[in-house]
């Protein structure tokens, strides 16, 4: 029984980390209908920023989430404003290909700058853990990451629902033409959205660096998890990525216990296809987003 | 007009629920070849939903749709098209990437094989050019839909529907947005289709057009049939005026009519 409880706890914490990784991806897809294949590379960039700060000034990775987020925000804003905006009105696979090209460029740039080594940002406490009765362990590092995922999602919901910028982002996402009529500078708002998403990815990267290892080859894996979590959770709802991440974490944890270890990914993809086939709007998404007819 | 006793399209007790909203409730409707049925009603009365129910673009919650005796109640839209039921869309839906001629050729390619004609691409292209002439778009076959005027875009919608050589044609506000000068030729075209024996139904807001051309008019209000009858009778019915213009106008119209009846006698 303790074994199952341990798996559940670990699954939830892993889910929190996945949610943190996926929330930016879900925002960009939900609002701008752009699938950002280079999202994983942004997460990785966040990890490397945190690593450099740790090596240079010994900054704790969870603290260096802030500088990583700010740096990535700027980079994301520029990428959207001067690159993705050029094709955002095009057919869907145009944005897919543009961001795929961007991923190749970013991953190989990082491979060139930071070599292919498997890195991790050592912290004294990350691997220590809270011990519950029955020797069920809650590792500090993953706990902090999961709590931060919750906090960042709440912050995002607040920004989106309560602030002017947030509402302008949602409005532009709903109907670009109408939003522009009301004086919203769509180009700026889109770049802002992409910047926020990149910042979230950067923060997630720093957390990943603290709790596990990363190398340039992991970018694809982060993007894939973001896909699955965003779709599971459902678009158009700021909580979507959180629900999706937690469900994915649990599916992998329980799957790992009940089935041979290697089937875990197969279970995750099976769940993805089933959700899409029978409930495209996901757990908490809005049908509008699922039925949106792309050009 | 040949008054054939048997209707081509027979709809009984049609209703459609979207979540909590009953868009259409208890709709009975018959379309006869060579007759034009007008459908009017304030916005949100369920007019477009009615058309969608009769073309398979919406599945009825209750009720039945028979076309030529064939039960197409929950059939998919292409089965209606193959059964000879064609329609235009309120917001024009051209195939933007194709030329005007190809837009129409699609209809010719996928209509029912009633006349045994070969449905090859060349045959379809030839049929398309003929249909374009029929609706007054001759010579514009090579333009892209985006290059057409509003009136021409409506003509293209009509041409695409006619390419199916339909026996029933449902027009969804085909006159909306047309200038005065463009409405009359459109009405003449519709009249010629009626004379060809097509069963026609026209959802319209242009009241004077409905008054002049429709054989019969159905008034929908909050998804239900308010009244049916000849255009003149329907337009003077208090309930219709009230539905469109609200309580005050209905009363004022009633007093004005009583006054004129007084003078006449």
């Amino acid at each position: 029984m303790a074994q199952f409880l341990q798996a559940t706890v670990y699954g939830l914490l892993q889910g929190g980390l996945l949610a943190l990784i996926a929330v930016g991806f879900s925002l960009v897809w939900g609002v701008m209908n752009v699938v950002n294949l280079s999202h994983g590379a942004f997460v990785l960039a966040g990890a490397y920023v945190a690593l450099q700060l740790h090596d240079a000034v010994g900054l704790d990775p969870f603290v260096s989430m802030v500088p990583a987020a700010l740096l990535l925000f700027g980079f994301g804003y520029v990428v959207q404003r001067y690159l993705v905006n050029l094709v955002v009105n095009g057919p869907i696979f145009i944005t897919l290909l543009l961001t795929f090209g961007l991923e190749l460029v970013l991953v190989n740039l990082m491979l060139y700058l930071f070599t292919a080594d498997h890195q991790s940002i050592p912290t004294g406490y990350a691997e220590g853990s809270l011990v519950l009765p029955g020797d069920v362990r809650i590792p500090y590092g993953r706990l902090i990451a999961a709590l931060l995922a919750l906090a960042l999602t709440v912050a995002l919901v607040y920004v989106m629902r309560r602030t002017r910028t947030g509402l302008s982002i949602l409005a532009t996402g709903m109907d670009r033409g109408a939003a522009r009529l009301m004086g919203i500078k769509a180009r700026h708002v889109y770049a802002l959205t992409f910047g926020i998403a990149a910042a979230m990815a950067g923060a997630a990267g720093a957390a990943v660096g603290a709790v596990s290892t990363f190398s340039p080859a992991d970018a694809g894996r982060f993007t894939l998890f973001s896909f699955v979590a965003s779709v599971l959770g459902g678009l158009g709802n700021m909580w979507g990525a959180l629900y999706g991440g937690l469900v994915l974490g649990l599916v992998q944890a329980w799957g790992g216990q009940l089935l041979p270890g290697t089937l875990v990914n197969a279970v995750a993809f099976a769940v993805l296809v089933l959700v899409l086939a029978f409930r495209p709007q996901g757990i908490a998404g809005k049908p509008f987003y699922a039925s949106r007819l792309e050009v | 007009m040949n008054e054939s006793p048997e209707p081509i399209v027979r709809a009984r007790n049609l209703s459609k629920r979207f979540g909590g909203l009953m868009a259409v409730r208890g709709l009975d409707l018959d379309l006869y070849p060579g007759r034009l049925l007008g459908v009017i009603g304030p916005n949100g009365a369920g007019k477009s939903t009615a058309i969608n129910l009769l073309t398979g673009h919406a599945r009825p919650t209750t009720g039945q749709v028979l076309v030529d005796g064939q039960d197409l109640t929950a059939a998919r839209p292409w089965r209606f098209a193959r059964a000879g039921v064609a329609r235009t869309f309120q917001i024009v839906k051209p195939f933007r990437g194709m030329t005007v001629a190809d837009n129409v050729a699609v209809g010719a390619l996928f209509r029912a094989r009633t006349d045994g004609g070969r449905r090859t691409v060349t045959a379809a292209r030839r049929a398309a050019l003929e249909t374009l002439d029929r609706v007054g778009l001759g010579g514009k076959g090579d333009l892209a839909p985006a290059e057409l005027s509003t009136a021409d875009a409506r003509r293209l919608e009509l041409a695409k529907a006619l390419a199916l050589r339909p026996r029933v044609l449902l027009l969804d506000e085909v006159l909306a947005g047309l200038r005065r000068g463009e409405i009359d030729p459109a009405l003449q075209l519709i009249d010629s289709l009626r004379r060809d024996g097509l069963a026609l139904m026209m959802v319209e807001h242009v009241m004077h057009a409905v008054a002049t051309i429709c054989d019969e008019v159905v008034v929908l209000h909050h998804g239900e049939v308010l009244t049916t009858g000849k255009p003149a009778a329907v337009f003077s019915d208090d309930r219709v005026i009230q539905a469109y213009l609200g309580e005050r106008f209905a009363r004022r119209a009633a007093e004005a009519r009583r006054a004129t009846e007084g003078n006449v006698r």
Binding site: V35, N89, P91, G101, V231, E294 | G97, M98, V121, G139
Partner: protein
């Protein structure tokens, strides 16, 4: 995604007055693609003796991608359903053939045909629920199918050898069909490419082509005009899958040993999409030009800039997508028709 392609050059000519002689123009319009295809085949056969084994192997890979890109174009280009899981059928074809040859000792040719049928049925089965989805959702659902299939293959070690891969016996007593050799595979991929392009030409100029393009532009309007959209989409998806499966089967026989992570590698699908989009999706010529140029470009970059070739490939894709979002063929056709060749204007076309 406009439809005009080699098969329908008629639009490029002057305005056709209704009474224009339709027969001469349409006769030429229908035969031109076949003439070019025959010329391509002859060129391919003529080129072979000039090549070294490695060049031959490279051209075989390019021909493979011409076939894969053209097959993807049937569903992604014509119908506009961007399948991001096309490699599922590529891998299914490969593993289907490997299993049939290893466990059932079936000849390669029979196994290839059977694998294509298996891919067809699998796509039709998977297509039923997924073809109801649109845009990104369809793309990601099919991606999920491909990734899922790879995991399933990895987890059947007794049958497929799992992560350790499976080897098709190609020489010695228990080899059902001897290995075709570099020359043999060059010809096999040449004929496969010609066959798939032929299918594309037939579809492009037939009722099916019209139906798929109509679905791509506006599915509701297409249904209202008598097109059974579900059947058309499923046939296009399953047909494209069968062709992709056959190519996958040939590739597996060529490689002799195949592994799940390489047979179901998402990079193969993305390469197909890059080739079709840059070449010009929704046309017959587009994927061919796209496949040849992208395949040679990535090979040239890999040999000459060994350390940074993927970095440059990424940069090339970004520049190409921004300058030619509608693809080379469509750009040329629009430019010729409108006599406007400026790329800058092209960039503004999809700008926010």
């Amino acid at each position: 995604m406009s439809i005009v392609d080699v098969g329908q050059g008629q639009e490029v000519a002057g305005p056709a007055t209704p009474s224009a002689p339709v027969t001469a123009a349409s006769l030429r319009r229908r035969t031109t693609p076949w003439v070019l295809l025959a010329a391509g085949l002859l060129f391919g056969i003529g080129l072979q003796p000039q090549l070294y084994p490695a060049q031959e192997r490279l051209v075989s890979t390019v021909l493979m991608f011409v076939a894969l890109a053209t097959a993807w174009n049937l569903i992604g280009g014509f119908a506009g359903y961007a399948s991001f899981g096309q490699v599922a059928f590529f891998g299914l074809g490969g593993y289907g053939t490997a299993l049939m040859m290893v466990h059932l000792n079936m000849s390669f040719w029979l196994a290839m045909a059977a694998s294509a049928v298996v891919a067809f049925l699998f796509a039709a089965l998977v297509g039923a629920p997924l073809l109801r989805l649109k845009g990104h959702y369809f793309a990601i659902a099919t991606l999920g199918v491909a990734e899922g299939l790879r995991e399933v293959v990895t987890n059947l070690p007794k049958l497929t050898g799992g992560g350790g891969g499976i080897t098709i016996p190609t020489f010695g007593p228990n080899a059902p069909t001897r290995w075709l050799g570099n020359d043999g595979f060059y010809l096999l991929f040449l004929f496969l490419a010609v066959a798939v392009v032929a299918v594309a030409i037939v579809v492009a100029s037939s009722r099916g082509g019209y139906a798929l393009r109509a679905i791509h532009q506006d599915e509701d309007a297409a249904a209202a005009m008598g097109i059974n959209t579900t059947l058309a989409k499923t046939l296009a998806f399953a047909g494209s899958a069968a062709l992709t499966g056959a190519v996958g089967s040939a590739r597996a026989f060529q490689l002799q040993t195949i592994y799940p992570d390489r047979s179901f590698d998402v990079a193969i699908t993305v390469l197909m999409v890059v080739m079709v989009v840059l070449g010009g999706s929704g046309t017959v010529l587009g994927p061919i030009i796209g496949a040849i140029s992208v395949a040679f470009a990535s090979e040239w970059l890999r040999t000459n800039y060994t350390d940074v070739h993927i970095f440059l490939l990424g940069g090339m894709i970004i520049v190409a997508v921004v300058l030619l979002p509608q693809g080379f063929t469509n750009y040329v056709r629009d430019a010729v028709r409108a006599r406007r060749f400026s790329l800058l204007e092209n960039v503004r076309r999809y700008r926010l």
